[in-house]
Amino acid sequence: MPPATPTEAPPEPAAPADAPDATRGDVAGGVGHSAGRPDSTLKVTGEFAYGSDLWMDNMLWGVTVRSPHPYARIRSIDIAEALATAGVFAVLTHEDVPGEKTYGLEVADQPVLAFDVVRYQGEPVALVAADHPEIARQAAKKVRVDYEVLEPVTDARAALGHATPDLHGDQAGQVTELSRAAPYLHPEGNLVRHLKIRVGDPDPVADVVVVGEYDVGMQDQAFLGPEAGLAVPDGVGGVDLYVATQWLHVDQRQICAALGLRAEQVRLSLAGVGGAFGGREDLSMHVHGCLLALHTGKPVKMVYNREESFFGHVHRHPAKMRYEHGADRDGRLVYVKAEIYLDGGAYASSTPAVVGNAGTMGLGPYVVPNIHVDCYGAYTNNPPCGAMRGFGSVQTAFAYEAQMDKLAAQLGMDPVELRVRNAMAEGSPIPTGQVIDSAAPVAELLQRLRAMPLPSDLDGADLRHLPGGVSNTTHGEGVRRGVGYAVAYKNVAFSEGFDDYSTARVRLEAVAGAPQVTVHTAAAEVGQGLVTVEQQICRTELGVDTVVVHPKDTQVGSGGSTSASRQTYVTGGAVRAACHRVRDRVFALAAAYLGETLDDLRLEGGNIVSQTRGAVGSVADVLGTEVVEETTQWRHRRTEPIDPETGQGFAHVQFAFAAHRAVVDVDVELGLVKVVELACTQDVGKAINPDAVVGQIQGGSTQGMGLALMEEIQISEGKIRNPSFTDYLIPTILDTPPMPIEVLEYADPHAPYGLRGVGEAPTISSGPAVMAAIRDACGLELTKVPVRPEHIVDGGADREVSGTD
């Protein structure tokens, strides 16, 4: 077993570290200000064009024929009747895919259109284009697919041939017929990735040991704007695609491969995105729309409806986890053993990276000397799972935080105190051996939470403050209060050696006598506010008020993915770097203009300002007709893969830390929950836009709370039982409590402006805090997420409730 040697950062090719004085918080609408969004008025007035609003005269409508079966062999596909329908222009199958027949973000295992077998319910099998959406839908029903239905594999452990627990849960798991019989769903078998971490003593002993098994259900991103795009053929073999997505260039790469076209022939532009949360990292209608457009020579629009959307994107991996924590009598962790199964569903999507996160981040922000982790991602015939906000860390946080509470209870210790005692800090090693080399204020986040005043007692006067709300299920009877804490830590940006860069093009010119900046990146704005951040950085760096955000497209280099909390960091870094180059050129122009070189210049308020002499000229005058434009690629510091046997390596760029305290009222007799308050503390390094930071924390907290309380795609025999917002519930405003938030700003010296990625961390700790509070209120273990009323009621079947009822 390897010793827990700290892993050093690999040598840096360049020094991206930042002088703190680069942050000038005094520019109106610049970095550090809560600048307004450029698209806010359009969005609030309903005029913003989302992907589903795309329109072209004479366009056709594309519709997808999907498999009704989770697992089946395709005997034949008969398109004749569909094709003969008046108004139908094309019916396509896998035979019409000119290039690679399969695609994927990390593994190209997913058919553009199914051939031989379908591996999940809703898998695309054929496409129809017609001159009216209704005609296309009716024709789609006439595509006759002859299936030989097969028994689906629906359990991740069984898919891997591992032991599955007995049905009653009262015996140890065994390798049963279920596991022995699971067929290979892909040629290499059903294992997508197995991540191991081995640190320290393989047979550690501890004074106190707690074991728990936890089960997290499948969450959906539930973005409000369904998948949509418009493909327009260019008449010379190429295509322009307008699409709501998260990473234009990775889409382009996959579309080109499937179409057998070169990058210049497939041009993408970002359509208005109505939320993403990871669900738009994989392709949806992209290749399909382009195939139909190229085949018919006409523009083709495709929009999924709400139900289809549930089948049209990947979901959060459901997880089954077994954890064993050992600690000494003082509550110091001695070891953690964890076994984590993530159900990847039918195709790999980003399962390898999700396994990477769940495995390496899966013990939480605590220092653990002896570690044994096995994290598996499996193929099954369940819906494909991939990226979703929090990416592997969300699932494991439910387990590690429940374990910390269990340990505290066993030790008779305060749960916050136990966490503080084991908290990571700057200089701590994480389970992969990497040493944290910037602020890690875990203890402070917890202590600040604990110091916040608690909300007032139960207010029975207003039904909306009670579990059940206006549904009038209690006037206080059966209601118990609980408080719970949880902490998140999340890797920011892409890990394990990925070359994760962004490109920015910044142009400065004088327009009608005033300086104007245009910033052009391909980084997707999905509602998070990157467009605002791009403007703010330009204002701060170039001292120019008017900043135009160029539409996002592939006419500029990759902006990387809008995921992993990385865009403000990486694309923000690229914009800043491009601004610096522009600035240097303006200074050179200023030298020519002034006839002398000054080395104490800065750009401010549309002027070139000398430290000693004050304003020496306006930017507009200095530029004249000159257009200064610079395009820059920018990378965060390098990471490296982890060792496949020990899990050791410098895998992560940066860590984000957040903590939550949840206060809940639970009607223990009916199992209904009211979250009274959800307080959060988070270190963001530097709040580039303080209002947007708070917005991310509120939204992330709500999404995590939703998973704890209600959000679950229910699957039975591989089929989705609730593909609608009638039965896939997300929190409404009446379920969303007040959220006191404290934002800390401990600069990370490796990051632009010292910032830390913000978006994911609050999604990770809010749900576990809510679960902890519910457990505290009811005194039950509650190991299944989301918790349903019947779990609370069943768990407390013998509880006598005193009250007036």
Partner: protein
Amino acid sequence: MEFLAATTLSDALAAKREQPEAVPLMGGTDVMVELNFDRRRPPALLDLTGVRELDEWSMDGDVVRLGAGVTYTRVIEELGQALPGLAMASRTVGSPQIRNRGTVGGNLGAASPAGDSHPPLLAAGAKIELASVTGTRTVSIDDFYTGVKSHAGRPDELITAVLVRSARGPQQFSKIGTRNAMVIAVSSFGLALHPDVKRVRTGIGSAAPTPRRAVEAESFLSSALEEHDLWETRAALADSLVREFGERVKAAARPIDDVRGTAAYRLHSLAVMARRTLGWAWADYAGGTA
């Protein structure tokens, strides 16, 4: 699809006679969902939103005549005193937008076991007014629900109004959902005390193929109240009595397991809701405020 827009009740009834398969459209909050999801392709829609007669409510003695087209928002704002149970249930329906469009008549037309109007109307002992070109009849709410999502109206009839006696005693409504707003009932329960006739009536929602009363529980409770002179004395109810009532309400239900909840939980929750709503209603009655 044909779209028939009536502006008077007689036009609407004539249209319904002519085309009995035309689907009435009131707030559209059920109909449009079904059309959008392609669950239903009727040959014609009969739009009733322009029919003024349906939009109104009036008092006839102590009976409220609630037009089928009166929205939940108006029930909450205007009829909280006269129809407290229905108003409480209306408050739990969907979101403000749905309450502004959705109607009690539409809820009855859909006759879903999960519809929130049904338990309070069962508990209040409402009558449903059905009209056709040949005349108007009323059907007791007890006979209105005939099967899963079906009711006693004939194809040539429209639901024109609900007739409910103004409340003589306390009424309560309680609904379980897995979130605190905008949720279809996992189970629901309505209860009305009728001190004038010394009766208790109930309504169970989402826990049987149709909305239904817990008839046996009602008579058990009514006779216990009578036997101990409790209508007169307004004395506190024995805990055992309240519990037994809950158990009997539960026994009246025939729930299933589905995506919204388990049958076992539905039964359990009904017993709890029955106990609690009885406790609240009786406390009101004992306090003499009703």
